[in-house]
Symmetry: C2
Subunit: 669 residues, 2 copies
C-alpha cells in the first residue's frame, strides 16, 4: 500500500492526500492548483517555483524542515538564485512528496487567467450555411398513403421547400417519430447538406452554430446566428492544456512521456469546449441540443490532441500529420455536447506546422484574390506565414518563433494577463521607460499602484524596438556599455548586462523586473525567424518587395506596427499598408460555419497553398542569422530610414563627451 501525505498549497488553501513519491507539480495539479510549467516538465524553464513553508505537520521538530521533500537537484542549483535557495524555494517538477507539506505558490508561478482579446470581426460574406432549417407541414399518413416518416419528410421537403435530402442521422431518426406526431405533422427540419439531422416541433425562426478557435494558449468561441452570421455570444478561456506544457512541442513531449498523456490532454480540451458550449447556450437561453454544427480551427498539434490522434509524428521531421483534409465528425463521436446528431467540422491542415487555424486565416484574408502581393503573419504560440497574390499564387511556411513572444524564455516573461507590461516607450534622452500594464488604465508613471508582475509579448517587442531606437542596444542586439542610465547594470549572478524596466517598488513580486541580454537574444530569434521565412518565400515567388503586410492573431492586434517594422520583423512596407486584422482565424472559422462556399474554398485552398519547408534550403541558416539583426541584413528599410538615422550612438556620444570634457578640463586647467 502506498503511503499518503497531506499537502497544502497556499495562498489558495487547497489540500489533499498525496501518494508518497508524487512530484509536487503533479500534486498541485491533482488538487486543482495551477502552477506555470512552460517547458512541459522537461525541467528546463525554471518557472514552476514553489516555496516550502512547512515540511512537517505531525512530526514537528523530529526531522529537518526540508525532510518531507526529496533533496535539491543539480538542475535546481542552477536555476534558482541564492536568495531563492535560502528561502526554501524549489522547482515543483523536481521535488517529490516524502511527507506532509505546506507549499506557497509565489505570484509569478501561478497559472493566471490570460486576458483573452480575440474579438470577432465583421464577416466578409453573406451567410449561406450548409446547415439550413425548413418548416414543413406534412399530410398525415392514411391507409391509402402509409408512407414511412422519413420518406414523408423527404417528399414534403421537396414539394414545399425544393430541398432534396437523402439521409437521416441515426440519432435524429430515433427521436423524430413521436415529435412529428406531437407537432401534428408541422415541424422544422434541420438539414446539413443532404442529411436530415433534427426534426423539431413547430416553426423555428432562428438557429445557431458555434465557431471555435482553439489556440495553444487561448480558446475563443463564437455563438453565431446562422442566418445573419452575427456573433450573439462569445466565450473564451485559457486552453487548460497549458498545464501540460506551454507550447505545442511541450505538449507533444508530454504525450510521449506519459502513456495516458494524449488521453488526458484530449479530455481536458473536450471538457473545456463543453464548458464553453454550456456558457454560450446558457447566455442565449437555448439548449445545447439546439446547436447542430460547430466549426473548429487550431494548429496541427492542437488538432491532433483535439481529435485524440497520435501527435508524436507532427513533432519530428518530416512532420507528417495524420490527416490533412477537413474532417466532419459526429459530435457524439468526439464527446462534444451539442445535439448528438450535430456535426463537428474541423478545417483542413495545410502542412505539419501550418494547421487548420492558418487555413481559416487563408480563406478570410484571401491572398489568392489579391492584386497586390501580401504577407500575412499569424503569430500565436507558433508563427505561420502566408505570402503571395492572385497572380503569384500563395506560399505558406511555419517559423519557429520560439515561445519568447508569448513570454516564455524571457526572464520576467509572462502571458498577457493582468500585471503584464504590454506597451513600452523609452525616452531617447533620459533612457527612462514608461509602460502600460494590463489591467491598469494608464501609463505606469501616472498611477499610484502599478503591481507589475512581468512582461508579455507585445511589451517585449516594444522593449526591443525601443532599446534599438534609443541606442540601448545596437544593430546586433548587444547592450551598449555607454548608454547613460543607471538602469543598465550587470546581473549579480551571471555578470551579464540587463536593463531595469520596473523597479521593485512598482511590482507585486518583490523584485526588479529586468530585460536581460538573454531576453534580447530570444526576441532576436523570434523576430529573425519571421523575417527569414518571409524572405525565403519572397525569393521563391521571385519578388523584391511586399505591398501589404497583415498581422493576424490576437497577439498581432496588440503589437505596435512601428515597433515591428523598426525591428525588421518583416520586409519594409509603408506603415499605412500594415494591417492588424485581429483574430482572423476565428473570423475564418465563423465564415466556414455560415458559408458553405467558403468552407469548400478552405478545403481546396488548404491543398493549393504551396507549403515551403524552410529547413530544406541550404542557405536557410545563413539567412536566419542575418535576419536576427535589427532591422537586419542588407535590405533597405526606406519607410523607417528617418528613425534609423536618428538612433544615438552612445559610444560615439560618450567619446565626444569625453573629448569635450577633456578639452574643457584642459581648458580649465
Amino acid at each position: 500500500m502506498t503511503q499518503e501525505h497531506t499537502v497544502i498549497f497556499q495562498p489558495s488553501g487547497r489540500r489533499g492526500k498525496i501518494s508518497h513519491g508524487t512530484n509536487v507539480l503533479e500534486a498541485a495539479r491533482s488538487l486543482g492548483v495551477e502552477i506555470e510549467a512552460i517547458c512541459g516538465e522537461k525541467k528546463t524553464c525554471g518557472k514552476c517555483k514553489i516555496q516550502i513553508q512547512e515540511g512537517y505537520f505531525e512530526k514537528f521538530g523530529v526531522e529537518s524542515k526540508m525532510s518531507n521533500v526529496t533533496p535539491f537537484t543539480s538542475d535546481e542549483e542552477r536555476m534558482l538564485s541564492s536568495a531563492e535557495k535560502d528561502n526554501n524555494y524549489r522547482l515543483s517538477c523536481l521535488s517529490e512528496v516524502q511527507g506532509d507539506l505546506l507549499c506557497f505558490v509565489p505570484e509569478e508561478a501561478r497559472g493566471g487567467q490570460q486576458v483573452v482579446r480575440k474579438k470577432a470581426g465583421k464577416l466578409k460574406y453573406k451567410p449561406d450555411p450548409l446547415l439550413k432549417i425548413y418548416y414543413i407541414e406534412m399530410k398525415e399518413p392514411t391507409i391509402h398513403d402509409p408512407e414511412d416518416d422519413f420518406l414523408r419528410i423527404k417528399q414534403t421537403l421537396r414539394e414545399q421547400q425544393g430541398v432534396v435530402i437523402s439521409r437521416v442521422d441515426f440519432f435524429c431518426l430515433q427521436n423524430m417519430t413521436n415529435k412529428i406526431r406531437e407537432a401534428k405533422w408541422k415541424v422544422t427540419c434541420f438539414v446539413l447538406g443532404d442529411e436530415l439531422v433534427r426534426v423539431t416541433p413547430g416553426k423555428i425562426e432562428k438557429y445557431y452554430g458555434i465557431a471555435i478557435d482553439i489556440g495553444t494558449t487561448t480558446v475563443a468561441a463564437y455563438l453565431t446566428d446562422m442566418q445573419t452570421g452575427k456573433v450573439v455570444a462569445t466565450d473564451s478561456k485559457m486552453n487548460p492544456q497549458v498545464r501540460f506544457g506551454e507550447d505545442v512541442m511541450s505538449r507533444i513531449s508530454y504525450s510521449m512521456q506519459n502513456p495516458e498523456g494524449l488521453g488526458q490532454m484530449h479530455k481536458t480540451i473536450i471538457d473545456a469546449i463543453n464548458d464553453i458550449i454550456g456558457n454560450l447556450t446558457e447566455e442565449l437561453n437555448i439548449t445545447s441540443d439546439d446547436i447542430l454544427e460547430m466549426v473548429l480551427v487550431c494548429n496541427t498539434a492542437m488538432h491532433h490532441i483535439l481529435l485524440n490522434l497520435e501527435p508524436k509524428y507532427v513533432g519530428v521531421a518530416p512532420f507528417p500529420t495524420a490527416m490533412a483534409p477537413a474532417v466532419d465528425i459526429k459530435s457524439r463521436d468526439l464527446g462534444l455536447c451539442i445535439n448528438a446528431a450535430g456535426n463537428i467540422h474541423v478545417l483542413a491542415n495545410e502542412a505539419g506546422f501550418v494547421g487548420a487555424d492558418n487555413c481559416a486565416v487563408l480563406i478570410n484574408e484571401e491572398p489568392y484574390n489579391s492584386d497586390e502581393s501580401v504577407l500575412i503573419i499569424d503569430i500565436g504560440t507558433n508563427g505561420e506565414l502566408l505570402c503571395g497574390s492572385k497572380s503569384l499564387g500563395v506560399l505558406s511556411c511555419s517559423v519557429a518563433t520560439g515561445p519568447a513572444l508569448e513570454g516564455a524564455q524571457i526572464k520576467f516573461g509572462m502571458r498577457a494577463a493582468p500585471g503584464a507590461i504590454e506597451k513600452v516607450e523609452i525616452d531617447v534622452e533620459t533612457l527612462e521607460p514608461r509602460y502600460k500594464v494590463i489591467g491598469k488604465a494608464d501609463w505606469h508613471t501616472d498611477i499610484a499602484e502599478v503591481d507589475t508582475k512581468g512582461i508579455c509579448g507585445s511589451g517585449i517587442i516594444d522593449v526591443a524596438a525601443e532599446f534599438f531606437r534609443t541606442g540601448i542596444i545596437d544593430k546586433g542586439g548587444r547592450f551598449s556599455k555607454y548608454a547613460p542610465t543607471d538602469r543598465l547594470r550587470n546581473d549579480v549572478d551571471t555578470g551579464m548586462p540587463e536593463y531595469v524596466l520596473a523597479w521593485e517598488s512598482e511590482t507585486s513580486i518583490g523584485k526588479d523586473i529586468v530585460i536581460t541580454q538573454g531576453d534580447v537574444r530570444a526576441i532576436q530569434l523570434a523576430v529573425g525567424s519571421i523575417y527569414a521565412g518571409a524572405w525565403i518565400m519572397m525569393r521563391e515567388l521571385d519578388i523584391e518587395t511586399i505591398d501589404k503586410v497583415v498581422l493576424a492573431g490576437a497577439f498581432g492586434s496588440h503589437l505596435s506596427q512601428f515597433s515591428c517594422l523598426l525591428m525588421g520583423m518583416f520586409p519594409d512596407c509603408d506603415i499605412s499598408n500594415i494591417f492588424s486584422v485581429g483574430n482572423s482565424a476565428g473570423d475564418g472559422a465563423r465564415l466556414c460555419l455560415v458559408n458553405k462556399v467558403k468552407r469548400k474554398e478552405a478545403d481546396e485552398w488548404a491543398r493549393k497553398v504551396r507549403y515551403v519547408e524552410l529547413t530544406v534550403f541550404e542557405d536557410f541558416e545563413r539567412v536566419f542569422m542575418k535576419s536576427m539583426q535589427f532591422p537586419h541584413m542588407d535590405h533597405p528599410f526606406p519607410h523607417v530610414q528617418h528613425v534609423l538615422d536618428e538612433i544615438p550612438n552612445w559610444k560615439k556620444i560618450a567619446k565626444e563627451k569625453k573629448k569635450r570634457d577633456k578639452a574643457s578640463a584642459g581648458a580649465a586647467s
Copy 2:
C-alpha cells in the same frame, strides 16, 4: 421501504428476494426463469401457468395455503380448468407476490429452446462486396514529401490498386497512425465504398462479415467469407425478446405499456447479437475487431426495436414505419461489438408489415426476373406474400396468419422445440394417427419413450390436412359426428368436440394432447388469410393461376407441400412447382453482405414492389371468409382433385352402414 419475500421456482430451483406486489411472471424473469407468455402480458393467452406448491415458509400453518399470492381473478377462472384450479394452478401474469412462495413451472409453460433450423443456402451470385481489402506498400514521408498519412494512403491506393477513397472513419483515423509505422508502411486497408474503415499491419488474405436474420422468434447468424460468400460459421438462438411477447403485436404492446419497454427490448436484442458475434468470431479464432460489416434483416417491428425506434405506429393503422429505406449505421452508434468503425447495414422495409426480411427474400428469389408467375409465401411469425413476374411486376402484402402456425392459440401448441409433434399422418380407415416428435428419430409408433409435449406449426398444418383428407373434419372445418374413432370426444368443460392426437401415456406433460374445434378454427384463419392475400394479389395482377409457389422461411421448409395444397393455403399448383427454399431471408441478407449490386437492387426493389393493403378492399372480408374453407372457395384444385374425390363422407357412410345394419337386422329377424 418495500417488503421483500423469498420466491423459489422449481424445477430449476432459482430463488431470490422479490418485492411485495411484484407479479409472479416478472419475479420469474428477474430470477432468470423463462415462462412462456405468448400474449405479451395481455392476460389472454393462458400459457404462463404456474403451480403454487407452498405459499408459506416462516408462517407455517398460520395462514391458508394460498394466502401469499393475490386471489384468483375472473380471467383465471375462465382460462384454467377445474383440475388446474384444484391443484393450485395460477397464471403467473395475474398473481402477485404477497409473501414467501414456492412455485412449480409445469413443463408446458417453460420457455424452451426452439430448434433452430435456418440453414444457409448456396448464394446465387458471386461475391462483389462493398467492403473490400487492399494491400499497399507506402513510401515513408520525407522532408520533401511530408504528406499526411491519410492522403498518403489515398494516393497509394489509387496508384497501386486503382481505388479511390474520399473519407476515413474517425475511429479508423484515431488508430492508424501508429499501426502504419509499426508495419513499416505496409498495410492492408479495409475500404467500404469510398470510406477507409480499417488499416491493419501487413497483408491480410481473408476477411469476414456477418449476416443476421432477426426473426420474431429466432435469430440466425452467418459468419461469411467476404471473398467466397461461403458461410464459415453459424450461430442461432431464440430471440430473447420472446419473454416480452411471442409475436410482434405483443412486443409493441409491451413497449406501449412499459415506459422502459422499448429500451429493454432493444438492449435485449443488442446483447443477443453481441453474444452471437462473440460466438462466431471465437469459433473462427478471429476478433470482433476483424469484422467490419454486418447486414441485418428483420420484420418492421423487430427493425424498429433493433434500432430503438418507436414501434407504436407500426402497430396501428395505417402502420407507417419510421424509416423505410435501408440504413447504414456505425456499429458504435448501435452498440454492436464489431470493429467500432464497422458498418451495420439494415435492409429496407417495404411497408408497415412487410419488412427488411421480406426485402431479402425478394432479391434472393427475384420474382421480378421470372418469366413464370410466382407466389412467394414467407411464413415466419407473420406471413408476407410476394406475387408477380418480370412482365407483371411484383406485389407484396402482409397477412395476419395469427400466431397459430407458431403454436400459439392452439391448446397444445408450442414452438418447434424438442417434444413438439412436427409431422402427422392419419390412417383413412382406422383414423389412428402416427406422428413424429422433434428430437426423436422415428415415428411415435416405432419408439418406446415418446415424451410428447405439444404440437408445433408444421404438425398443426399436417393435422388439419389429415383431418380433412380422412373426413374427420368437413370442408367447413367442423368435426364430423360420425367419424368412427374413440379419439373424437367432447371436452369435459366446454362440451366442444376434440380429437386426441396423443394419449397421456405418450406425453411428458401428464395429459392427453388434443386438437380442439378451436384449434382447427385457428388454423383455418391462418391458412385462409394466406389464400385470401394471394387471391387478392392475383386479382390485382389480373391472373387466374400461379405457375410456381415458393415457401420461404424455416417454417416453410418443414411443411408438407401436399398438406398445404390440400388445405388450400395457396391457389392450385402442380406439386412439382412448389418449392421450399429454406431461410431465403437469411440467404438474401448474405447476398447483400457480399454483393454490392444486390444490395443496391434490394433498396431499389423495396420501393418498386407495390404494397397491397388488403384491408382497403371492400370485399376482403368476404374473400377471407370464403378462403377459410378447405381447400376453399369456388376455385378448382385440379392437382389434388383425385385426393378430394376420395375423402370419406362419414355421415353418408354411417347412414349407409345404419341402413345396411337395419336391413341385415331386418333380414335376420
